[in-house]
């Protein structure tokens, strides 16, 4: 089996329009959540989110491209450009034929849907732009990445709600690990901060009106974000042969399904995914120094997740650090696991643990070291990234320092 390393990373999210700015914001515990701005926002009862501002799509794409790129595709392409520039890879011949793209995404082109539904239902128009379908399809981002970088191997989109990115990265890992592809571009993106997108979430009554405070006793729900995270997963020997800089090694993963409830999480399903990732990576629980939590800031998730971590790690649960960066970049749904993997890379590579900001009151049911409010310097050999989706679909990845 091949060892798999990460040789490039890119992102766009509310904390920054690239990786260095995002990691700086995470180190400083900055909050990307603020008032939402888009058409009809005044008709929402939830008016906050981690929206990407100061983003000028016309600086990156021409008019023709923009007629085909929904916002989730735009974020993906910009993140992919950053990741591939860092990796220093160009694809041709055999390398191009075997390398591919697996990305996570949940909602597809939600802003495209929203705008076009508004146009036909509310404005009464009977004609829509000819590219609505190729713009809103969930696989649009993966396809455009394959086209821009000449990736001709296995490419597809994984859609498992809030675990989409982790499932996608698990697939990409498996492909490189098994020797199917020397390089896979992977991660995920989401952009559903539009009237219809937030209105749908509002209906569930799990959204906070003021802030995301994971693990804090006074938390009152989740806050949505948007953005993309894209990584270059590469065969270790291929990377070292060309002298590439290695950010971290991906050492294992696991996927489980709760098979119990469409929205309520299960401790057992989460614990099996965490334990499975340790087993796949041949790790002792004591080697794990940091977990990037799913940590949505809802009562249901946070209690279940902490109980699952306590079950798997037993005495070591009190020694490891676990933080939720969603309080900073929001819950980026299908892209969230990819953006959160950046915090895991920062932990193992830079020895900096991103904090759980917004933490105000200890909760006895979440009595772990959640790195409250302030980032911490700590040497970490192994970091896990948790994702537990609606529908009971879970995926956990393990990264090791190189």
């Amino acid at each position: 089996m091949k060892r798999v390393v990460i040789t490039g990373a890119g992102t766009v999210n509310a904390l920054g329009l690239n990786v260095p700015d995002t990691l700086e914001a995470m180190r400083e515990g900055r909050c990307g959540i603020g008032p939402l701005s888009f058409q009809d926002v005044e008709r929402l009862s939830i008016q906050i989110g981690a929206q990407v501002h100061e983003f000028d799509e016309t600086a990156h794409f021409n008019r023709q491209q923009l007629s085909l790129y929904d916002r989730f595709t735009q974020f993906t392409l910009i993140a992919a450009r950053e990741a591939l520039a860092q990796a220093g890879l160009e694809f041709s011949g055999e390398l191009a034929a075997r390398s591919g793209v697996v990305l996570g995404n949940s909602g597809g082109g939600m802003t495209t849907l929203d705008e076009n539904y508004r146009s036909v239902y509310e404005d009464g128009k009977n004609r829509v732009h000819p590219f609505v379908v190729p713009k809103l399809m969930n696989n649009a981002a993966a396809s455009h990445v394959s086209m821009e970088f000449n990736l001709k191997g296995p490419s597809f989109t994984v859609s498992t709600a809030c675990a989409s990115s982790n499932h996608a990265m698990s697939q990409a890992f498996q492909m490189v690990h098994g020797g199917l592809a020397p390089v896979m571009i992977t991660g995920g993106s989401e952009s559903m901060l539009c009237f219809g997108g937030v209105k749908a979430w509002e209906g569930l009554r799990v959204m906070s009106k003021d802030a995301c405070r994971p693990f804090s006793a006074n938390r009152n729900g989740m806050v949505q974000g948007e953005g993309a995270g894209v990584f270059v997963f590469e065969d270790h020997d291929h990377a070292t042969a060309r002298g590439a800089e290695i950010l971290a090694e991906v050492v294992g993963f696991a996927m489980t399904s709760d098979a119990s409830d469409i929205v309520m999480p299960s401790k057992n399903g989460a614990a099996r995914a965490i334990a499975g990732a340790l087993q796949d990576a041949k790790l002792n629980p004591e080697e794990v120094g940091y977990i990037n939590a799913h940590g949505t800031g809802t009562a249901a998730n946070d209690k279940t997740e902490c109980a699952a971590v306590a079950d798997v790690f037993r005495a070591h649960a009190d020694k490891l650090m676990i933080s939720s960066t969603k309080a900073m970049h929001g819950h980026c749904i299908g892209g969230t696991g990819a953006i959160e993997l950046l915090a895991c890379i920062m932990a193992v590579r830079d020895g900096v643990i991103a904090p759980t900001i917004g933490y105000e009151e200890p909760d006895p049911e979440c009595a772990l070291d959640v790195v409250p409010n302030v980032a911490r310097d700590a040497k970490v050999q192994v970091a896990l990234s948790n994702a537990f989706a609606f529908g009971g679909l879970n995926s956990v990845l393990a990264l090791r320092r190189v």
Binding site: G203, R205, V206, N220, G221, A300
Partner: protein
């Protein structure tokens, strides 16, 4: 139909029982209404009476809207109708 009867009908629909089987002092738990059914119930009440019910599923006990029994839900709806009418 009175507000009371309309509320009871909505609760009974969610609990999948006859309105006559709903007792005023029943709790949502007594009626087998779980957290998802409760969110649907709140939505149905909002639609039926054209009101906004303050309710966060993360902290159902802390909401201003008292859901501890059928009686308290009826009283809550009546208050919201009075507060939000016109």
């Amino acid at each position: 139909m009175s507000v009371q009867d309309r509320v009871i009908k909505i609760i009974a629909d969610q609990a999948m029982i006859e309105p006559s089987d709903v007792a005023l002092n029943d709790t949502m738990e007594d009626l087998g209404i779980d957290s998802m059914a409760l969110v649907e119930c709140i939505f149905a009440l909002e639609e039926e009476f054209d009101i906004e019910v303050p309710f966060n599923a993360n902290e159902p006990g802390k909401s201003d809207f008292d859901i501890s029994s059928v009686t308290s839900v009826i009283a809550g709806v009546e208050r919201l109708i009075a507060d939000q009418s016109g």
